[in-house]
Symmetry: D3
Subunit: 334 residues, 6 copies
Amino acid sequence: MARPITLFTGQWADLPLQELAKKTSEWGFDGLELACWGDHFEVDKALESDTYIKEKQDLMAKYGLKYWAISTHLVGQCVCDNIDERHKGILPERLWGDGDPEGVRQRCAEEVANTARAAAAFGVNIVNGFTGSSVWHQLYSFPPNDFSVIEAGYKDFAERWNPIMDVFDEVGVKFGLEVHPTEIAYDFVTTEKALAAIGRREAFGINFDPSHFAHQFLDSAAYIEEFSDRIYHVHIKDSIKRVHDGRRSILGSHLNFGDGRRGWDFVSPGHGDVDFEEMFRALNRIGYTGPLSIEWEDSGMDRDWGGPDALNFVRNTDFAPSSVSFDAAFASDD
Amino acid sequence: MARPITLFTGQWADLPLQELAKKTSEWGFDGLELACWGDHFEVDKALESDTYIKEKQDLMAKYGLKYWAISTHLVGQCVCDNIDERHKGILPERLWGDGDPEGVRQRCAEEVANTARAAAAFGVNIVNGFTGSSVWHQLYSFPPNDFSVIEAGYKDFAERWNPIMDVFDEVGVKFGLEVHPTEIAYDFVTTEKALAAIGRREAFGINFDPSHFAHQFLDSAAYIEEFSDRIYHVHIKDSIKRVHDGRRSILGSHLNFGDGRRGWDFVSPGHGDVDFEEMFRALNRIGYTGPLSIEWEDSGMDRDWGGPDALNFVRNTDFAPSSVSFDAAFASDD
Amino acid sequence: MARPITLFTGQWADLPLQELAKKTSEWGFDGLELACWGDHFEVDKALESDTYIKEKQDLMAKYGLKYWAISTHLVGQCVCDNIDERHKGILPERLWGDGDPEGVRQRCAEEVANTARAAAAFGVNIVNGFTGSSVWHQLYSFPPNDFSVIEAGYKDFAERWNPIMDVFDEVGVKFGLEVHPTEIAYDFVTTEKALAAIGRREAFGINFDPSHFAHQFLDSAAYIEEFSDRIYHVHIKDSIKRVHDGRRSILGSHLNFGDGRRGWDFVSPGHGDVDFEEMFRALNRIGYTGPLSIEWEDSGMDRDWGGPDALNFVRNTDFAPSSVSFDAAFASDD
Amino acid sequence: MARPITLFTGQWADLPLQELAKKTSEWGFDGLELACWGDHFEVDKALESDTYIKEKQDLMAKYGLKYWAISTHLVGQCVCDNIDERHKGILPERLWGDGDPEGVRQRCAEEVANTARAAAAFGVNIVNGFTGSSVWHQLYSFPPNDFSVIEAGYKDFAERWNPIMDVFDEVGVKFGLEVHPTEIAYDFVTTEKALAAIGRREAFGINFDPSHFAHQFLDSAAYIEEFSDRIYHVHIKDSIKRVHDGRRSILGSHLNFGDGRRGWDFVSPGHGDVDFEEMFRALNRIGYTGPLSIEWEDSGMDRDWGGPDALNFVRNTDFAPSSVSFDAAFASDD
Amino acid sequence: MARPITLFTGQWADLPLQELAKKTSEWGFDGLELACWGDHFEVDKALESDTYIKEKQDLMAKYGLKYWAISTHLVGQCVCDNIDERHKGILPERLWGDGDPEGVRQRCAEEVANTARAAAAFGVNIVNGFTGSSVWHQLYSFPPNDFSVIEAGYKDFAERWNPIMDVFDEVGVKFGLEVHPTEIAYDFVTTEKALAAIGRREAFGINFDPSHFAHQFLDSAAYIEEFSDRIYHVHIKDSIKRVHDGRRSILGSHLNFGDGRRGWDFVSPGHGDVDFEEMFRALNRIGYTGPLSIEWEDSGMDRDWGGPDALNFVRNTDFAPSSVSFDAAFASDD
Amino acid sequence: MARPITLFTGQWADLPLQELAKKTSEWGFDGLELACWGDHFEVDKALESDTYIKEKQDLMAKYGLKYWAISTHLVGQCVCDNIDERHKGILPERLWGDGDPEGVRQRCAEEVANTARAAAAFGVNIVNGFTGSSVWHQLYSFPPNDFSVIEAGYKDFAERWNPIMDVFDEVGVKFGLEVHPTEIAYDFVTTEKALAAIGRREAFGINFDPSHFAHQFLDSAAYIEEFSDRIYHVHIKDSIKRVHDGRRSILGSHLNFGDGRRGWDFVSPGHGDVDFEEMFRALNRIGYTGPLSIEWEDSGMDRDWGGPDALNFVRNTDFAPSSVSFDAAFASDD
C-alpha cells in the first residue's frame, strides 16, 4: 500500500476544526496535520486543560481521521527572526506581548518547546515548523556582506534551538524544519550548514516541501537522497515558474502571491513544476513511509475545487515500491 | 561608427587612477567612467579644491581617455537603505559619522546632490548610482507582507530623491539608477513603480546593466525597448546561471560571489548568459549612442586577462545600425 | 462553479442538428454553439420563417442544451477576401450567385448583418466568425510589399465591417472575430492594428481560440490579458508543432491537415501544445465567465472517441478562481 | 474501436499461468502474450503432448483472454550471441547442455524453429523474440574495429536465421524481432542493415518496443513510419532518461536496473519519456490493428499497482483514427 | 584548402559595380556573384553588345575577383507568379510592358533563358534565381484548398520551366533555384515535389540558402544530404527566430524586415540560428567545392560593418574535410 | 599566466616525430605529449639505448618544445582486456607474440611498468594511458548480468595494476587513466569504483578528457571538482551529440567515427558540446597548473586546418584565475 494522505490545516484556519474535519473526511483524506493556530490545535489549552486533547482526539476519531504530526510554523518563525510589525500579524497577543524583539523571540522559543510537550500528549512524535533566521535579509550580498556575520547567524540559530531540541528529546518528539526561503535553511548548501551548526542532532530534521525547491531550480529527488536520514515528514505542495517571457523576475517583484506579474507562484499539486514522480521514487528509495501532507495553497483556484483535485492527484501518483526482483522471472526453471 | 567603450573604475579603486589610466589607455579603451571612491573622483575635493578637477581632466587627456559619466553607487545606496554595519564598510568616515541611520541617509543624500555639482564642473552630464531601498528585505513575503508598507517604501524613495533631483536639474545633470536587486527598482515591475513614484521626472533615468537581468531571467532587449526614454547610460557586465544540476539555488545560498556552489555569478562580458547581440540591436533601435561602459567583475578570472578580453569582445560585437533600406537595391533602374 | 462547456457544431455540420444534439447531450455537454451552415442554424430561414427559431429553441430545450453564441465563419470569411474558387465551396448558392468578387463580398456582408438579427431573435448576443482579409496573401514580403497596401487592407476591413457593426449595435449583439491566420487579425500585432482600424468600437471583439496561437509560438495567456476587454467568447481547440526533427516546415508544406509531413496540425484539446492551465488562469484573472466552446478538430482521431475525451479534459482542467485570501488563515485570532 | 491490450507474461513467469490469467482477467486485460519460459508456454511440451495446447487454450478461454502472439526472447538471444555464463542463467538445461557455444547456438536455433511450429498449433501467427548478435560487444570502436568483422556479424545473423525463417514460412508464422540494444538491430541504421542482410524476407519483421528507443534518443513514431511494412507486433513499455544533473551516464554505469545512479531506466508506461501519443498516431497512420502488449517492467514500482495503472493508461491514450473528412462538414449544402 | 568566398551583389545594386568591386576586393573576397539587376550584369546588353562582357570580365580581373555564377532572382520570380503591382517594382520596363500577367510571365521566361546564354558567354555555368509559384498564396488551407489546384501549380511550374531548361542544356548552364518561401519549393516536401514535377532533369538544381530554413525550423545539414546531387551553389545568409517571449508570431505579422516585433528576421551570417558548422560538415560530406556566396542582409546592421564581419566569420568557420584516416596513426609499426 | 598547451602526438604517429615537432613548433605549441607508438617515444629503445632519450630531448629542445607527460594508451588497453584480433592491430609484434590472451596481458603490464621507468629517465612524472577492462562488454545487462562478475572485474583490475603502480612509486611517476568508455572507469560511478578498488593509492590518478563525458551527458566541471585530488593531467578534445532528429542513436550504430549517421562524434575543440569555459573555471578552482594537452581528432576536418584552430581556441579560452578580492576595491579609504 502507498502512503497515507493528510491535509495540513494551516491555510484553512479560518474554518473551525470541526467543519474542516467533516469536509476533509468526506473528500476522503486519511488524516489531518493540525496547525497550531486558529482553533485547530492550541498549545496553551492543550497543556492547561484536562479535556482539550481528548476532545481533539475524539473529534478526529469521529470523522475517521488520523494524525502523525502537528505544525508550528508561525511561532517557530519568530524564534530567530529580526522581529518587525509583520510578526505581530502572525502571533497571538500572549506571545507578542510588548513586541520587544528579544522578548518575542524567547517567548516563542518557550512556546515551541511547549508544542513538543503538547504533541507528545496528543500522541504524535513530529512537530513541523519554521526556525526564522537572523541573516536571511543579507541574501544578496550588497552592501558586501561581512560573511562572519552569516556564520554568527548560524551560531545564533544553534544557540536558540538547542535548548528547544533538548525538550523535544525529553518528550520523544522530533522537529521537522520546513526548508524554505526566509528560514535558516532553504537549499542544499544552507541545509548542510544548519545541520552542521546544530551538530546533526537527531531531534532536528526536515519537513520536506518541494514547492520551495522548484522555484529555486532545485531537484527535490536529489535533496531527498542527500538528506535521507533527516526526512521526517513530507508536504505536498507545488510551485510554478513563469519566467519564459523575460518580463517576470524569479525574485517576485515585491508582489503578493497570485499576481500574474510574479515570476513564480504557488499552485495546487500537479499544476506546477514539481516532478512528483521522481520525488515519490526518491521517497521509496529512502524508505519513507510517513504521511504525504497536502499543504494546499493556490491563489488562483477555489480551494473547495482544489482540495479534492489535490487528493485525487496524489492518490493516482504515489505508488508503492517494488518488492520483487525482475531477474527472478527470467530464470530458467529446470 | 559604433559606440565608444569605457571602463567603469569601481572594481579597480585599489589602483591609483594614474596607474589605471595608463593601463586602460594601453589596452585601447576610449575612456573611463570614474567611480567616486578610491582616489578616482573625490566629490569633496572636487568642490573644495581649485585645481582638483583640472588635474583629473589633464590626467585623462594625457592618456587620451574621454569621459561621459561618473558614478556614486556606494553613497547612493545609503540614501534609502536601512543602515547597518555593512554600510560603514562602503562609506568614508565623514559620511558615516556616528552611524545614526537617519543621519547617514541625509549626509549621503547631500553627497549625491554634490556629486551632480561636481559632475557638472568636471564636464559630464550623467551620474550613475544606486538608490538603496527601505523595503528590499521584504522580498519574500513571509511573514506575510503588509503591502501598504511596500507602497510606503516607494513613497520614501520619492521623498528622499526628489530634492536630490532638483539639484540635478539645476546643474543640468541626469541620474542613472543602476537597476539592480537591493535597489528600489530591479526589474520591469519595480522600474515601472519607481518611475511612477518619482513622477517620471526627466532627471531620473537608468544606467542599464544586463548582468542584473540575466540571473533574474529577464530579457535585456525587451527592457531597453520598454523604458527606451530613460536609458541614459549602459554598463557592460555579464552573469551566468548555474542551476542545471538541481543542486544550486538561484537565490545564491548566502555564499560570496565566486563560490562554485552558487546558482549564479558575475562573469566577464561574453562569458555568461547575457544576449549582447540582441541587447545591442535594441540599443540601436532606440538610438542610444552613448558609451558602453565595461563594469568588469569576475571572481574566477585574473582581471588583467579579463580587461582586454572584455574590450575585445565588445569591439567585435557592438555594431552600427543600418542606414540604408534594402528594398532600394532591388528596385528596377529604368 | 467553473464555466459551462459547449460544442461548436461547425465540424459536425454533416449531421442533422437533431442527431448531434442527442449525441452531445448524452456525452454531457452543457450546450451548443450553432454553426450557420448545414441545417444547424440557417439565417435566411430564421429571419423568414415564423416558426424556425422556436423549433430550434425547442430542440435545444428537449436535450437540455443551452446556447450563448452562434457562428458565421464561412460567410464572414468572404466579406474581405479576394474571392476565388475556394470560396464557392464554402458558400450557399444564394450568396455565391454569379461569383463576381465584389458581389459576393457585399452579399456576405449583408448576411453577417442578418446573422446578428437572427442571433438576437434566437436569444444570443454573440456572433462569432471570420472577417477575411484583402492582404493576407502578402504575408511573406516578397516581392517586397508596398506597405501602404497593407495599410489599405486594414482600411478596407474597417469600411466593410463598420456598417455591419452598426447593425450589431442596433440589435444588441457583439461580434467575436476568431483571431486566425488568413484573417485581418491573427496575432498580437495584427489584433492591435485591426482594433485600431475599427476604432476599438465595442461591438467588435474576439472569439479567442488558442489553437491558432500555439503553432505561431504565441502565448495564449498573455494575449488574453493584453486584450482582456475584447475577449467575448472562447474556443477550446488545440494544435501541435512537429518541427523537432528538422524536416517538417512550420509553414505546412502546402499539405492538407492530418498529413504526417506537416510541421504543425490541429489536435483534440489536451493532446497538443496549448497550455490550457495558464490560459484558464488568465481567463479567471480577467473575469471571463462565458462558455468554453470545444471546436473539435483532429484529422487523426475518431471524433466519437474525441468528443467525450475533450469534454472530460476540459471538465477536469477548468477550475474556479479563488474567493478567499490566504493571509486571512494565518492571522492570529486573539 | 481502438486496439486490444494484452500483457506480455515474461516478467511474471514466477507466477503460474493460471494465477496470472486470473489476475489479469480481473484487471481487465483483453489477452496475454505468453512467454516461452516458466510454465506459460513450453515449446517442448506443446509439440510432444497431445493435450498441452488444448489445456492452455482452455485456460485462456476460461478467463476470457485472447492471444495474438507468443514470445521466445531468451532462447532467441542465444542463436547469434557469443555464449557465456549469463546465457546459462536464461536457458533450460536441455538447451544449455554442455555449454559448448556452437552447440548452444544450434540447439537454440532449432528451438526457435520449433516455437513457430508450436505457435501455429496454438493458433497464433506471430512469434516475438530476440536474435542475439556476434558483434554487439564491439559497440564502441576501441580498440578500433575492423569493420569487415561487423559486416561478417550481419552475415552470420542471416546464415543462422534464414533456415529458421524457412520453417516460419512453412507453418505460416512471422517472427517479430524486438529491436533492442544487444540484438542484431537496435536503431534505424542497424534495422536497415539487418533487414538487408536477410533480404527483407517477409517472415522476418519487428516487434516494436519504444522503451528501447527513448533512451537512445530515437523517435518511435518516425521509426514506425520508416519500417511500416515490418511492424508485426507492438510492446508498450517505457523508459526514462535521468541525465539532467550531469552526474549519471546515459551508458548505465554497469549498474543494475532500478539503481538511482543510472542515467536511464525502464519505467511503467506513461511514467517515462516515450511519446505514446505520437506513437499511436503513427500506428494509426500505418494501419496497425494488432494488440498493444504491455511489457511491464519498473524496478521502482510494485507490479500489482503498476499493472492496472498501465492498462488504464493505455486504454485512455490509445484512440481510433478518424474515418471522416473534416472538409465535408464545411461544404455548403445547396 | 577551403572553399572560395564570394559576395552576392543583389543587395548592393544601388552601388555601381566598379565601386562595389573595389570595396569587396579590399575586404578580401575571392569573387562576386553578380546580380542581373542594377548595372551589375545586364542580360540584354550582354547579348547585344560586342564589348559588354569583355568589359565586365576586365573589371573583375582588375580587382582580382573571380566568378562562378550570376543570379536572376527578380526576373525568375515573375515566371510562375500571379502578377500584381509588387512585380512592377522589381522588373525593368521592357519586361513589365503593359503589365498583362501572362505577357509578363512569358517575357520573363524568355529573359531567364537569355540569362543562361549570357552566363555561358560570360564564362559561368550556374545561374541562380527564383521560380515564382502560382499557388504560394494558398499556403494556409482556408478556405479549404482544392488540393488538385496545388497539383496543377506544380504542373504549371514544369510547363513554364522545361522550355527554359532546354535552353540551359543547350548552352551548358545549370539553374540553381534558391529554395525559399514564395517559390515553388521552400522545404523538404516541396523540393521533392518540384524536382519530381520537372522530372529531376539535371539542369534544374538548387542554390542552397540556409537563412530560409532556420526560421522554418528546418535542418540545413539534413537537407544538403537529402538533395546532395542537386546542390549546385550555396548562399551564406542567416536568420533568427525571436519567438521566445510568446508575443511575436513566426509568421511575421505583415511587418517589414527589421521591425523588432517580427517573430523572425534576416541577420548577418553567424548572428542568427543557422548552424553553419553542421552545414559545412554536410557540404564536405557531399563533396561540394564551389563558392560560398555571402548574401548579406541585415536590416539592423550597417552593411559596411557587416560585410567584412561576414567574410571573417566564414573564413574562420569553413574548413577543409579530412584526407587521412585516424586509425592509421594507431597502427603498430612492426 | 594561463596554462601551457601541448599536442598529444597519438593521432599523428604516422608522421616522424621530427616532422611533427617542426610543424607544431611553427604553429606555436608550448610542448608535446609524446605517444609511445610510432617513432615518437619507443619504450624499449629508451631503456636499452644509451642515446635514445638524449636524442629525443635534444629534438624537443631544438624546436623549443617542452614536455610534461608521455602516453601509453594502446599498451595499457591490453592489460585488462579480453584480447581479440583488434588488439593485434594496436600492438607491436614483440608484445602480441603468439597472441595468447594471458600472455599478451602480462607482457603489456610489464611494458607499462617499463614506460614509467622510461618516463623517469626522460624527465616526466606523468604517464597517461588506458587500463582496459574485463567486464566492459557487459555494459547493457542482457542477458542479465551476474553483478558479482562486475565486482570481480574491478578486483582483476586492481590485481593487475597494483604491481604496475608499485613500479611507478619506485620511480616517482604517476599514472593518469584517461577515463573513457571501454576502460575500467568511464564516468562518476565507475571512477569511484575503480579508485576504491585500487585503494585510492596516490600513484593512480586521472588524465581528464572531456570529450568522453559530453556524449555521455556528464558534467566535466562537476567531475573535476568531485575528483579534484586525482586530476593529474588534462586532454583537450571535444565531442558532439547529434540526436536532435530522433534518427541517430547515442550508442553509435556500430558505425565508424566520421559517419554522419552516428548519434555522436569526436570534433575539434570548440566545435562540440564540451563547456570548456566551465571546465577551465573548475580547473582554476582546484588549482590545476599543468598542461592542457590537445588530443586532436575530427574525422570531418583536415588536421592541418584543425591543429592551429584548436591551439588558437584554447589560447583564447583558457584564462588565469583571479588573485584579488573585489570587495577590497569597494572599501572606503579613510
